[in-house]
Symmetry: C2
Subunit: 411 residues, 2 copies
């Protein structure tokens, strides 16, 4: 079965909101064998929504819309869909009750404006919204299925998981098999060279894509439709690739670097503390995005000023004066300081120049040092990153976590 | 002039990559008066790209494509566009030279695979890529303009700013006037009620949209095309709205909460330190995303374990035992501790339960306390947030920065 997404909202065209819903839907649909072939974003204009919906209904089996179900005046989705299908909007008492209850739970009266959320196209089934007021809707038009979801990501996801997925799982077939191999510390061109022969070898039944970004290159492997061999084959192809890529592979599919690091710390039974300067807390934020990280992550310090580096982390004044705050010596001293301050097995540190100001000829914006201290081992890395302030922070955090990962693999 | 975006890449349909390019393009284009009316995402399939491009050429003045210009085998954009326009792909020596130079600067030979990046449709103008190898391309077909850009965001943006925008600015007219009012701490329904009369009052010439997300509701005000009054009118309408919304407004357009807080700290000449538990570093990460934040932000501690709260921040063992780590008393004690440890004017702290585990009936997941200490003033807030671990972290960071903002407004 193939599907199309119709994403509705002026704010997405104007760019004041970034659409994360459609990527999430693409992933979840692929997992149950429904391939999104087409994704269209249009504004809150009834005319355009109607025209495009007619076109999509001719071409695709499943159409999922997001957006335009809120209580405010600019929300036009339901009206447009009803019109295309030649149906009326009718008041659904059950939905109205649910919306009233939603407000009662919060101790407030339902604003009159929310009444419109209980209007649905005749014949539509409502899908419960466990976290908000606008329900999802499901319409069957002959062989075509239309799902109508709200645009607020948490509501869209909850309705999809609880109401849409169960239906689709029963109908969809596991046709798409793909895997993402995640790498960091190596360029796209270099990867393409290393993998050149392997890509050619499997090109009869595998489509390979390189997805570069500033924190690393993802490689997507997709087994062509109709290929025999199932998940076994995917596994074999993946192994072929990761063997060539070696240490630069850090994970697969949805796995994040911080999850991998967390897993390795748990396996080794090590505790960690982190001292950050230029990343300003991003490394610790990423580490603590992992549920259960409190088992191995004790805490850390953000030492933005030199005084904090000296007074809290014990970096000697002499080190700062002789080598500067951005130096291998300061990085190592910060790692040592945080490790002994918080009494952890490993101390990790970064210091660098995130820019846009603060750079010089010898120490340009993007120069970063990472320090790592553990029992009997002291190491550091120097990096020179390109990009704006936030990109440099992100590359630095990724490199620091990757250094920790490589250390843990051999520990 | 109206425009359409054609976003190319399997990874965007499969959802392994989130498309941030098109939102960015939408914003930049709107600023020079070009309204994106249509945004289409398709896979790396020549047939679909060709069909859709033909359709878009009939309907829109300006078409911008992103993606599919890399050196690897799955990149098909140029071939498809050339086919639709009835042109050949030809080798451009100047581009080839530039690509070779790009690699030389990095001290490596150009991989043979990158040769294909120098092939362009006959008659296309190349647009310099200041940060990568694939150049942008510009084609004029009668009255229609086609811009072909790479998918890597940093390259796309650099080419757009330096090569596309100058052309468009000359041609485009400032037709769209819009503003985003950013609010936090108030629900969409409540805002809609407060603003009900104002929205109706201006409905003849202004379109208002509510864009809710978990960290706040943005309100977009758009002056209808052809309305007289220009920027003056937009300003007057904005004032009407912010007057009603009051303290819940924290910024406008691209302004972030951390920028506003940074601005206020600079105005008041205050220094800040931050002690975080459940947010794990996110507050400090956001504060340090602002260039120049080292002037007011000294540093802070992430106290994930109780030992760090006690030993480093000086939270009394008794406080932790009697009230628990997640309590107003601990929050205040943490703020006091970080303020005196780093000798800053203001100490800000958060402690809470990000989940999914660790909650209880009395202290459920999402319960958060924020503490703020300054000379002569101690305050705290209690919040109960909904959502997953990361959403709770994000809401907590937003609320803490907002509490700081409101404090600074009155300080």
């Amino acid at each position: 079965m193939n599907g199309a997404l119709l994403i509705i909202g002026d704010e997405l065209l104007l760019g004041t909101t970034i659409d994360t819903n459609s990527a999430w839907l693409g992933r979840r649909l692929a997992e149950v064998g429904i391939e999104v072939k087409y994704k269209l974003t249009v504004g809150d204009s009834p005319k355009i929504i109607e025209d495009e919906l007619r076109r999509l209904l001719e071409k695709f089996d499943i159409i999922i819309t997001t957006g335009g179900l809120g209580p405010t005046l600019d929300d036009v989705t339901k009206k447009s869909i009803a019109k295309v299908l030649g149906k009326k909007l009718v008041l659904n008492e059950r939905i109205l009750k649910a919306i009233k209850k939603h407000f009662q739970k919060r101790g407030v009266e339902m604003p009159a404006i929310n009444m419109s959320q209980a209007l649905i196209p005749q014949g539509a089934h409502s899908i419960k919204n466990p976290v908000g007021t606008a329900p999802g809707l499901f319409l069957k038009e002959g062989e075509k299925w239309i799902f109508i979801l709200p645009g607020v990501p948490s509501e869209m996801k909850a309705i999809f998981e609880e109401g849409v997925l169960p239906v689709l799982s029963r109908e969809g077939k596991k046709e798409i098999r793909f895997r993402t191999i995640k790498t960091t510390g190596i360029t796209e061109s270099r990867l393409a060279e290393i993998l050149d022969r392997t890509v050619k070898e499997v090109s009869g039944y595998v489509i390979v894509s390189f997805l570069p970004r500033h924190t690393g290159v993802n490689i997507r492997i997709k087994i062509k439709k109709g290929t025999e061999g199932g998940d076994e084959l995917l596994k074999k192809v993946e192994e072929k690739f990761t063997e060539k890529i070696g240490i630069y592979t850090y994970g697969r599919d949805e796995e994040t670097m911080e999850e991998v690091v967390g897993y390795l710390l748990t396996m080794r039974n090590f505790t960690l503390s982190v001292a950050e300067s230029c990343t300003g807390g991003l490394i610790k934020h990423r580490i603590t995005n992992v549920s259960g990280s409190s088992k191995y992550f004790i805490g850390g310090v953000v030492a933005y000023s030199n005084e904090v580096k000296q007074n809290l982390l014990g970096v000697p004044e002499q080190t700062l004066q002789r080598y500067g705050a951005v130096s291998q010596q300061t990085a190592i001293s910060m790692a040592k300081g945080i490790r002994s301050l918080l009494k952890t097995d490993i101390g990790l540190s970064v210091t660098g120049i995130a820019g846009p100001s603060g750079g010089s000829v010898e120490k340009p914006v993007g120069l970063v040092y990472i320090g790592l201290l553990s029992k009997g081992k002291t190491s550091f890395e120097e990096h020179r990153f390109l990009g704006d302030r936030i990109k440099i922070k992100e590359q630095t955090a990724q490199a620091a976590l990757d250094m920790l990962r490589r250390y843990l693999l051999n520990a």
